[in-house]
Amino acid sequence: MPPALLTTSLVNTVQIGSLYALMALGITLTFSVMKLPNFAHAEYVTVGAFAALIVSMAGEVNPLVIMLAAFVVGALAALASHVAVFKPLEGREVSFYTLILSSFAVGLILRYILFMIADYFNLFDTRIRIPLQIMLREGYLILTNIFFWVVPSSILLVIALTLLLNRTPLGREMRALANNPGLARVIGIPVERVKNYSWLLVGGLAGVAGALWGLQTAVSPLMGWVAIISVFAAAILGGLSSFAGTILGAYVVAFSENTVMLFLNYNFGLDLAYKPAIPFVIIIAVLLIRPQGFTELIKRAGDLQR
């Protein structure tokens, strides 16, 4: 594989992997704290991207303000879906499968509301208007200002989330709720309040991921849905429970979709149209061979350190 191609694909791996990590951590958090594999997560991403787009069309060019708007709108979308759908269903003690299906339904509703908005305001495949600049050119390596927004923002948010979970009382209560919800209630943790905060956090991060995704490609009502299988593959690689595993999973998926795909294309002539199949292959392989993902490995390493 020629070095130019390799370099570009590695840049894409880092950029897209960081965004996958941001989205997949939300999936892992929802699954462990709320016990819900939430497919509507895709739409919190899209909602955030549209919020970013609308704010930028209103003339805002500061990416921080754009990201903040996306965070707020994504957070509200997630909290609204909890209050309107998931919480009442949990109250009726419906089965796990009903909850999964309801998450698809919530996703569909949000997606088609966005289609209506996009149609009315003619927003299909619009870019968030931040002028593209080349910040670094070093041989084959070309990095744009988008790269310098996407990668550090994602990494900083992942670090912030990890600190929140491990160093704050709210984070401790979230981990307690994830580990043993019955005992959490018994010792007086305000379970509903902790869940509400978790939803805001999860939706907000998805929203920011949407804004950043919109910076690097275009905003469309389907963008979150298109990414969600890759994001689930990352979360499944993390065993849907480990944060470190999920982050690692995100970069593995992005690497497979970019570098490995190009390698297969260049050396074996595999058509690039197979790229969307990669996350499915990863999901099936993980579920067949190692359903716990990276979780046990990471846990064992952690226990050895102590």
Binding site: E173, A176, G182, I187, I189
Partner: protein
Amino acid sequence: MITVDRLTAGYGKLEILQDLSLSFAAEQFSAVLGPNGSGKSTLMKAIMGVNRIFAGSIHLEEQQLVGMPTEAISRLGLAYVPQRENIFSELTVLDNLQLGSRSLPREERPAALDELLELFPILGRRRAQRAGLLSGGEHQMLAIAIGWLSRPTLMLLDEPSAGLAPAIAIEVFRVLQELSQAGITLIVVEQNARRVLQYCDYAYVLREGQLAFQGTAAECLADEETIKGYLGVH
């Protein structure tokens, strides 16, 4: 302190406790005994509001507990140590202890932790470890510690010695005796009647969801019919 009146409770559609009435006195160490399925654990869960109550009432002094959410019941000064899954096994020992003290005012937490580590020095040495890696005895001490850290007036413990080696079980009961002497009301569900009767003040024997016997520990031990018929102690 706790008055249970004509309580029918269970799980789903299953009624395990049938029209049960009894009351637990304050500052006493009470044991709830009885064969498997007699409703001992169901009674504890009913007090904490974690299972289904079909009829009857449970009062803490004047406060009606039936219908209150579990979190609110725990805030009234009740600490419940379930039989299983009674620690946060994925979290560190220190995380577990901090969760236990979370309901205290912020300025009281360090003192409570220090006092606790005096009571359970082993937990201090293991503070950075994942709680799931503790031994059986340490695990049970941690479970009791989580409950104790909220400075409860009443602690409910569901089979605190289940699955422990005899020497360690005795250590657990010694700790409970200390808590009782410190003025905490204790209600302990126990399979091993002979052992708990050496420590408790008062005993209740349940059978098929109803009260079969109540009396002081000494009376219970002296009542051959109860001992042989319901408790299987020889």
